[in-house]
């Protein structure tokens, strides 16, 4: 277990020292919300109605942007090969990296949501729903992302291929995530999102580890 924590700790430390990258994603997230009102006009009721969708699109895009660094750095400096001989199985290594990646890329987005709520004139209740939906949905996004990043880690310039690859897989997250924030929908979307997130998070370390083993050859 200490190895698991050590890996998460290392990734967090590296993210903090590199600093800029995590911050760029948050800025991107906020930027999308800033430009939307300019694009669709300053109609407040309309903005409020569209807010859930906009938040999800912004979160979705910034998560996709950060995806590439999940395994690439460790692949380039050889850590990924050496981690194959760690006391932890590769599946646990992937799980630790996914958790660290969520903490570095998704958590800052959650913290930035009040800014979006302000920009899109959301009510407090709507903002609460947004945070809840993102909290449930982002682990699934990161997990699908891990799969895409693992499959493309061997490609030298695979930066944009992973997002394209996992986009179709992630659409259900988007559908239920936005559905959850719809006041007229029942609890069905919430349950679906939770189920989806749990299943994907549980299975992706195994699938991603398999992809990494193949990529290592």
């Amino acid at each position: 277990m200490s190895a698991f924590r050590a890996l998460i700790g290392r990734d967090l430390k590296l993210a903090f020292r590199a600093g800029g990258e995590a911050l760029t994603l948050v800025l991107f997230f906020v930027m999308v919300a800033v430009i939307v009102p300019f694009a669709i006009g300053p109609d407040r009721p309309q903005l409020t109605r569209l807010a859930p969708g906009i938040v999800w699109i912004a979160a979705f895009l910034s998560m996709l942007l950060g995806l590439d660094r999940l395994f690439r750095n460790d692949d380039e400096d050889g850590s990924l090969t050496l981690l194959r001989h760690a006391d932890l199985p590769l599946e646990a290594v992937v799980a630790a990296k996914v958790i660290a990646h969520w903490l570095v890329t998704a958590l800052p987005l959650l913290l930035a949501t009040p800014v979006l709520a302000l920009l899109l004139s959301m009510s407090w209740a709507q903002w609460g729903q947004t945070v809840l939906a993102l909290t449930i949905g982002t682990p699934a996004l990161v997990s699908f992302g891990a799969l895409g990043a693992a499959v493309t880690v061997g490609l030298r310039r695979g930066g944009l291929i992973a997002p394209v690859l996992i986009l179709p897989l992630s659409i259900p997250i988007m559908i239920f995530g936005v559905g959850m924030m719809d006041p007229l929908a029942g609890g069905g979307a919430t349950l679906f999102l939770i189920a989806l997130s749990l299943v994907v998070t549980a299975f992706s370390p195994f699938a991603a580890a398999l992809a990494l083993r193949v990529a290592g050859e």
């Binding site: 190895a3 924590r5 890996l7 290392r10 430390k13 590199a18 090969t81 050496l82 194959r84 001989h85």
Partner: protein, 224 residues
């Protein structure tokens, strides 16, 4: 116990300063038979067979591109063999050292080493003692990005010392090392062998080993 004290003595006084966990001497038996590896269309080697007893060293020789690194990666379980059996190569029983260091420039020297110690098991030297043993004792607080390539190589060697494992797979371990570093490498290998450890070393340099008994050479390409 005689083996263990011999080990400490060879690593110098640094290791003596603090009580270091000393593992029992290990008894690995590495045996490879009928190993055939293909990369793409190209057959690198076929029907390769060798065994190593505790304390044994296998030197891999041959021109560039003949498959020395690939053989090491195969032994390390990264590249799959087309045919043949490998025994005595458990994933968590071996250390691989190749041209990629697995070290992060933004972490300090001791943070890097502590990380690998946590990942591979803390059953070897303490971090400070290992840094002293490879001759970069005072640099623990420095970011690894500032190290020269020779110092990085020494830090990589320290990774093998903080977690004791019976099998060392070394790919050009003396690359970037100075003359004193090559002597150090020979000493570390000697100490490893005295504890019963096994090493497979791909190298173009002659290793400065104290004891040549049990050292075998495998020439890949043509004369194999």
């Amino acid at each position: 116990m005689t083996l263990a004290s011999g080990h400490l003595g060879s690593l110098g006084m640094a290791a003596m300063n603090q009580p270091t966990p000393v593992s029992e001497a290990f008894q690995p038996h590495l045996s490879v038979s009928g190993l055939t590896v293909r990369r793409g269309e190209r057959l690198l080697f076929a029907e390769l067979t060798f065994t190593l007893e505790p304390g044994g060293v296998l030197l891999l020789r041959g021109p560039n591109g003949v498959g020395k690194s690939t053989l090491l990666l195969t032994l390390a379980g990264i590249v799959h063999a087309e045919a043949g059996t490998l025994a005595g190569l458990e994933r968590t029983e071996l250390h691989l050292l190749n041209y990629q260091s697995g070290l992060k420039g933004r972490l300090t020297v001791s943070e890097n080493l502590k990380f690998w110690q946590a990942m591979n098991g803390a059953n070897g030297l303490a971090v400070e003692a290992a840094l002293d043993a490879v001759g970069i004792g005072g640099l623990g607080g420095l970011e690894a990005g500032y190290l020269s390539s020779g110092q990085l190589r020494r830090l990589s060697l320290a990774r093998l010392l903080v977690s004791e494992r019976p099998v060392w797979l070394l790919d050009e371990p003396s690359a970037a090392l100075d003359a004193e570093g090559e002597t150090l490498l020979g000493r570390l290998l000697d100490a490893h062998r005295r504890r019963g450890g096994i090493a497979v070393v791909a190298t173009h340099h002659d290793l400065l080993l104290g004891d040549k008994a049990g050292v075998e050479t495998l020439i890949l390409g043509g004369a194999a």
